[in-house]
């Protein structure tokens, strides 16, 4: 299994390198990183431009610039940034933001998965009942709802609650600027800021996942070995927990991992609405400022996360399902 994991990771490396190269070409060939400088009034002296060009490596040929970046990354140097007047270190900034965003992503995935399992199992067991139809309809509704629209709705709802019911749900940012020292206050503050974005992000995944769980649970419930288990006198509950649930939920592990890219995409929108300083807004700022190395660093990190999650899911699948053996 270890050999399999290592081989999979090795295969993924060229994919990521090619992807960064393509993006590097697209971003470098069409955008002008000095655009912000050019629109300054009054126009800075030519020496400033020359310095900026040199700092952003624009005086190097394209391929050399890419090679420079690639070898730099191996040493932990993600290249210079247009933003922050040359003081922004992309590597440490993205590490900080990754921590902020992954908090949200993992919280949302756990909640979405739990809700999806419960909804999927209930729907399958009571197929074509009123709860099943209700779950199906709400599932489709959430599947068709724009993330940003739902997020704004939640935000407005929370503001109304804060004004009328005396709650204090945070609607903006990932942490308060001033929090009392110590782990306790920081923790509760972070949780409070997490509530609304987590609900938003969980909603985007739960709908599709519950549909998937319903389908795979139905397939299992209609199989012969479940009928046998019931026929030999086991209780419904025991059959459900010991026999049906485990088999039905194995493929779900893969589905959650396959959706990782989509979840990261939804995180960008969620962070934008709730004004988080996370990975998503880092990317948006990078694109807006024609900051090629920020965009590259973001894609690199996002690609690695997706690939690692997929690998973990595949390995977990092997652990959960005894029929699968990785050589």
């Amino acid at each position: 299994m270890l050999a399999y994991a290592i081989r999979r990771l090795l295969v993924s490396i060229p994919i990521i390198i090619i992807a960064t190269f393509v993006v590097f070409l697209v971003v470098s060939l069409s955008g002008d990183p000095l655009a912000n400088l050019r629109t300054k009034q009054p126009l800075p002296p030519p020496q400033v431009f020359a310095n900026a060009r040199h700092r952003l490596r624009l005086d190097q040929p394209l391929l050399e610039r890419y090679w420079h970046w690639l070898t730099g990354v191996l040493h932990g140097d993600f290249g210079p940034s247009v933003q922050g007047g040359g003081t922004l270190d992309i590597g440490s900034e993205i590490l900080h933001r990754l921590f902020v965003s992954m908090r949200l992503v993992i919280a949302a995935m756990v909640i979405a998965a739990l809700v999806a399992v419960v909804v999927g199992v209930v729907s399958a067991m009571k197929q074509y009942s009123i709860p099943d139809y209700a779950f199906t309809f709400t599932g489709f509704l959430f599947l068709s709802m724009p993330v940003f629209w739902f997020a704004i709705l939640l935000k407005e709802g929370a503001i109304w609650l804060n004004n009328n019911a005396g709650t204090s749900i945070k609607t903006i940012g990932e942490a308060s600027p001033t929090v009392a020292a110590g782990f306790g206050p920081h923790f509760t503050d972070a949780i409070n800021h997490l509530i609304l974005p987590t609900i938003t992000l969980a909603m985007t995944s739960y709908a599709a996942w519950s549909r998937f769980n319903r389908a795979s649970m139905l397939e299992v419930l209609n199989s012969d070995y479940i009928r046998l288990a019931r026929a030999k006198g086991l209780s419904r509950r025991r059959v459900l927990v010991r026999h049906a649930l485990r088999t039905a939920l194995i493929p779900f592990v893969t589905v959650t991992a396959l959706d990782m890219a989509a979840i990261i995409g939804a995180t960008i929108i969620t962070e934008d609405v709730f004004q988080w300083r996370g990975m998503g807004t880092f990317l948006l700022n990078g694109i807006q400022n024609y900051d090629p190395y920020v965009v590259l660093a973001w894609l690199l990190v996002a690609g690695v996360i997706v690939i690692v999650f997929n690998l973990i899911a595949d390995l977990l699948y092997g652990v959960l399902d005894p029929r699968i053996r990785y050589e």
Partner: protein
């Protein structure tokens, strides 16, 4: 889908006398001799029958057609243009302005209709382009297998590794600086959607290529391209149609999201995402600016998703146990 059409072509073509005779005799002798005739059902009519049994899907199809008509007929005949100043500032919904007006006195109904048109146009473009590219790509990869398949699927993996929204934002922003407009958004979304189609097509093609009728066709001397076009492509259309409806719903949501974060359709043109973005600051004071564009996004995406569900049931009845 097109198997019926194929048969008719075969009958009329002189190159296939055997098939023509066999079918003619069946039709010719079947009717007078048998007391009870069973009308042969084509694949298409069976799919249609099963689709019509899915009530929500049929209702959604009607709703979707109504939305299309509303946007393109009523939207164009409406007495206000989406860019026009009406001199009614921040008015709530009324007979004159069914969806109200914004603070610059634009008629929101005209704007929402314009945005709906954009969403539907993008959906149609993505559906056609992604289906064409994805089907061809997937069929070729799955049919020839081997090293070409391996390479082609690694390219698909490349696409699937990165979030669509992120890549679309990067590309749309880079392209948009040169040529703005909804067409670029549609091109970008289609370019990011086809890999999902090709993956489905490849999977189905892998099983189709082992079927007897492919072997028979090869024995008759058919070339690879003929087999792919005449036998593989028509037989993958079912799963493709189901996949593409769901992808189109996602593409519509992706366009609105892109426009919302400022990387999609830009002013002076408008889109439902852009309208929500403009209305988000006025949810309490002028709620109509926020709710109407949002409701139309949901209406379009929801009806397409239900149509997709109905099509899945129709093409793949194994999923529905009780109703089938």
């Amino acid at each position: 889908m097109s198997s019926r059409h194929d048969e008719q072509v075969e009958i009329s073509s002189p190159n296939a006398p055997l098939q023509g005779v066999a079918l003619e005799r069946e039709v010719g002798t079947g009717k007078p001799e048998r007391e009870f005739t069973v009308e042969a059902r084509s694949q298409l009519s069976m799919v249609l029958r099963r689709f019509l049994r899915h009530k929500l899907a049929v209702i959604s199809l009607i709703v979707f057609i109504l939305v299309v008509l509303l946007a393109f007929v009523a939207g164009n005949l409406w007495h206000y243009n989406y860019q026009e100043y009406t001199n009614d500032y921040s008015m709530g919904p009324s007979l004159k302005h069914p969806f109200g007006t914004d603070s610059a006195s634009h008629d929101t109904f005209a704007q929402v209709m314009r945005g709906t048109q954009r969403s539907i146009e993008i959906a149609l473009f993505v559906a056609l382009v992604a289906t064409a590219i994805g089907t061809a790509y997937g069929a070729i990869a799955g049919f020839f297998r081997g090293i070409s398949d391996n390479l082609m699927m690694r390219v698909v993996d490349l696409f699937l590794t990165f979030p669509v929204i992120a890549v679309a934002a990067i590309l749309a922003h880079q392209l948009g600086s040169k040529a703005s407009g909804w067409l670029w958004v549609a091109v970008v979304l289609a370019a990011l959607t086809w890999p999902y189609v090709s993956r489905v097509v490849r999977g189905v093609t892998l099983s189709i290529r082992e079927k007897e009728y492919i072997e028979a066709s090869r024995a008759l001397g058919a070339s690879n391209s003929r087999i792919i076009i005449r036998h593989v492509v028509p037989n993958v259309m079912g799963p493709v149609i189901v996949t593409i409806t769901i992808l189109v719903a996602q593409a519509i949501l992706a366009e609105t999201a892109l426009s919302f974060i400022g990387f999609g359709v830009k002013a002076p043109d408008t889109s439902l995402g852009l309208l929500v973005s403009a209305g988000q600051t006025a949810v309490e004071t002028r709620p109509w600016l926020f709710y109407f564009p949002g409701l139309f996004i949901i209406l379009i995406a929801l009806s397409i998703n239900f149509i997709g569900d109905g099509l899945r049931d129709a093409f793949d009845p194994t999923q529905t146990r009780v109703r089938a």
